[in-house]
């Protein structure tokens, strides 16, 4: 960082201290709000460009809203979709804070989910109070191990984690396909790659079954909230978390301060992997009930966006995860009601992140929404 840049940031910080309310308000409310609105408008333009007529566009956005927050069922779906995203997003956020760009949440999630399923049906004789937590733990450990490979390689040989985690993702797909064809994993009497089912006493119980058996939201919500709190505590209240953040902010300074860089890298990757693995375990134990090829369905990549959107802060990740969960649930409704492909949601998500991650861009588009800052302010 050059002198000029540090002066720039120093001035910004002074400004922020001088007028905290306004700047924080702009950062936390105005920018995301603009981002969502602009993304929706651009999404509508995309639909228009592909020959969808105006009434259908209107109907699809109504469906998007209804499907995400319009009913008890919609909220249940939103929460269900948010759970794995928040878990994996927390792991990635922790990595970002440590200066590790872990793209491997997808593979860690997949391996974690697979481990949870296998543990579940192998020890199906155990009682619920043991089997369910232990299955979750199996998922977390497997995720930690899988991410640990990339962490170890980075620490020991300097192999960049972006490349190694991408490769591990690709390997995990094949490994899953292979495992699903093994006799002791594949469901009896099936020729297609489907694992045995998770036994009932390993499943995460559904919370609202008494209201309507179709409500899918499950006890993973509580585990998720616990994880948010734990990661918050770990990052901002513990010594280890301080070391993580110090290594992320300035690796050289951290090393001169006597922090063990290699150990920190491996630990951060393992914790990130454990969280992603927990996300996968939650998904199979709470929603899917079994493992199929590619059951992660890109959750690990969406989680990157969630972590970025949440500014790598646990609470931010929680809200970003809920937003993405809502878009996912609403998108499904949109596809059913208006016949607009759910892939539109991907476009909207990407646009939201662009505007959140480039505040200068939002300011350039909507100069009137912000207090005038001299050139270059952020």
């Amino acid at each position: 960082m050059s002198l000029n840049e540090s002066l720039d940031t120093a001035r910004d910080k002074l400004l922020a201290r001088a007028a905290p309310g306004r700047t924080e308000f702009e950062d936390l409310v105005v920018v995301p709000l603009f981002a969502v609105v602009v993304a929706l408008v651009l999404g509508a333009l995309t639909m228009l460009a592909t020959g969808v007529d105006m009434p259908t566009i209107g109907r699809s956005y109504v469906a998007l809203l209804e499907g995400s927050v319009g009913s008890v069922n919609a909220i249940s779906e939103t929460l269900t979709a948010a759970i794995p995203l928040v878990f994996a997003g927390l792991g990635l956020a922790l990595g970002f804070r440590t200066g590790l760009f872990n793209i491997g949440a997808e593979g860690q999630l997949l391996m974690g989910g697979l481990a949870a399923v296998i543990f579940g049906f192998t020890f199906s004789g155990l009682p619920f109070v043991l089997l369910m937590p232990l299955s979750l733990l199996a998922g977390a450990l497997m995720g930690a191990f899988y991410a640990g490979i990339a962490g170890y390689l980075r620490a020991a040989t300097g192999a960049h984690e972006v490349i190694s985690t991408i490769m591990l993702n690709l390997i995990s797909y094949r490994l899953l396909d292979y495992m699903l064809s093994l006799e002791w994993v594949q469901r009896e009497g099936r020729s297609d790659p489907v694992s045995r089912s998770v036994p009932e006493n390993a499943e995460l119980p559904r919370l609202l079954e008494w209201l309507d058996p179709n409500l899918r939201v499950h006890a993973g919500v509580f585990v998720m909230l616990l994880a948010v709190w734990v990661v918050y505590w770990l990052l901002f209240r513990s010594k280890l978390g301080f070391e993580f953040r110090a290594s992320g902010a300035n690796p050289d300074a951290a090393r001169y301060a006597g922090m063990r860089a290699s150990l920190i890298i491996v630990l951060a990757m393992c914790i990130a992997g454990a969280l992603a693995g927990l996300g996968g375990a939650n998904q199979v134990l709470g929603v899917l009930g079994r493992a199929t090829p590619g059951f992660s369905a890109g959750l690990g990549f969406d989680a990157i966006a969630v972590a970025l959107l949440g500014r790598s802060h646990p609470v931010g990740v929680l809200f970003a995860g809920l937003l993405f969960g809502a878009l996912e649930a609403g998108g499904r409704q949109m596809q059913v009601d208006a016949g607009v492909s759910i892939d539109l949601i991907g476009i909207i998500q990407a646009l939201i992140i662009v505007f959140i991650a480039a505040p200068l861009l939002v300011r350039a588009i909507f100069p009137w929404g912000f207090r005038r800052v001299e050139k270059g302010g952020s």
Binding site: S2, T46, A156, T157, S341, L360
Partner: protein, 421 residues
């Protein structure tokens, strides 16, 4: 890629690291040797490699290798290299030994798989070249960007955008039109990336991830919303291979290099041109200066922002051309997410290739080789599950990145935004 490359402050740390790397390389090689003996050791009979097709102008005789002796010799050589690394390795030998060792391993594997059977080596080399094209172009695009210190994770998305545009515009206005449109769209996304990271100073990785997400969303959306109903919009003509007279008749090399479609020729030419440009022209030198020390370049009167815009846009155009290969060079039809991580492998190729166009091409050939190997081996019916063969290129990437990376150095300012005084 230098997102958070740790700067090693002490010479001692550097030596320790390289020593450990040497040990790891040695251990890997010894492990490979053991694997070769234990798994491949019982190969029966001879392995026959076909070098020519019956209708070729000059026909070479088949290459016949006695399987078991070859495998034991290969294992012995790999073990020797490994032991040498382990005992007193270091220096430049680490990389070379790993390369030779992996090469021998692949040869032993091929001989074992073809023992008592016949296998067309020429066909596989031709497929290698074809499959290397998108990876090489992705790596070249990333090289162009990183030489001016812009990390381009978006290569994956730009490849996908090129593939999509190639299919759509190719169906509407024909193959050449589709190709030009794909290059233009690639350039557009390159320009967008440059705008986001240079002008709006967005984090380069985030900008790349966002472009990937956006392109994936947009192309998947259009393909399920529009292509599903209007098939004629997704039915582009394919560029056939075009044989260069005389050169195309050379055995083995001819089919590999001189009997291909324009994407192969284009990729080879672009690698040659960009090597000349980057390392032998004044503007190439300026571009590299921007990548190494933008402040100094600025002081000398080089417009840093302009240089970055131009090179990232050119990088995007190269990736757009590479993306068109997926549709106009193969099947003429676009499928959701059809690039399947090739762009990321291109980034890995750039790192193997040490931020050099020729290096990126060579690394891409290695990937193309493992990719086509996996396909051809399915025909030979080896007892190894096909999933593990499919994993091989990725595992090889990890091994090579772990073994090589410490010796490659990215452009010094890579990944850092530049703020003009």
């Amino acid at each position: 890629m230098a997102i958070a490359e740790p700067q090693t402050p002490h010479r001692a740390t550097v030596d320790l690291g390289s020593q450990r790397r040497t040990r790891i390389t040695g251990a890997i090689l010894l492990g490979l040797a053991l694997f070769v003996v234990l798994v491949f050791g019982d190969a029966p009979g001879d392995a026959t490699f076909r070098l020519s097709r019956p209708r070729d102008a000059w026909v070479l005789p088949n290459l016949v290798v006695p399987a078991q002796p070859f495998i034991y010799i290969a294992a012995a050589l790999v073990a020797f290299l490994g032991a040498r690394q382990f005992l007193r390795g270091g220096g430049r030998w680490t990389t070379l030994s790993l390369g030779i060792g992996l090469g021998l391993f692949v040869m032993a594997f091929l001989v074992w798989a073809t023992a008592d059977k016949a296998f067309s080596l020429t066909g596989m080399l031709q497929a290698t070249m074809v499959r290397a094209v998108p990876i090489a172009l992705g790596g070249l695009a990333a090289t162009m960007c990183e030489r001016v210190a812009v990390v381009n994770i978006a290569v994956e998305g730009i490849l996908l955008a090129g593939a999509f545009t190639g299919a759509l515009m190719g169906s509407v206005i024909g193959g050449w039109g589709g190709l030009i449109a794909a290059v233009a769209v690639g350039g557009l996304f390159g320009f967008t990336l440059a705008a986001l990271v240079v002008t709006y100073r967005m984090d380069q990785i985030i900008a790349g991830v966002v472009i990937n997400l956006f392109v994936l969303g947009l192309t998947s959306y259009v393909s399920s919303q529009v292509f599903a109903e209007m098939r004629h919009l997704n039915n582009a003509p394919v560029f056939r291979s075009w044989k260069i007279p005389i050169l195309g008749d050379i055995p083995v090399i001819g089919p590999m290099l001189f009997n291909q479609n324009i994407f192969v020729y284009g990729a080879l030419m672009m690698v040659a041109i960009s090597t000349y440009y980057l390392f032998h022209t004044a503007s190439g030198l300026r571009a590299r200066a921007v990548g190494e020390h933008p402040r100094a370049a600025d002081t000398l009167g080089i417009d840093v922002y302009w240089t970055r815009y131009v090179h990232v846009t050119i990088g995007g155009m190269i990736a757009g051309f590479g993306g068109a290969w997926f549709t106009l060079g193969t099947v003429g039809r676009f499928d959701e997410n059809m690039t399947g991580g090739r762009g990321f492998i291109g980034l890995a190729a750039m790192i193997f290739g040490r931020w050099h166009p020729v290096g990126a091409l060579m690394a891409a050939l290695v990937f193309g080789f493992t990719d086509s190997l996996q396909q051809k081996l399915a025909l030979l019916q080896t007892p190894i599950p096909s999933e593990f063969l499919a994993m091989a290129p990725y595992i090889a990437t990890i091994i090579v990145v772990a073994g090589l990376i410490g010796r490659a150095r990215p452009p010094a300012a890579d990944g850092k935004p530049y703020v003009k005084e």
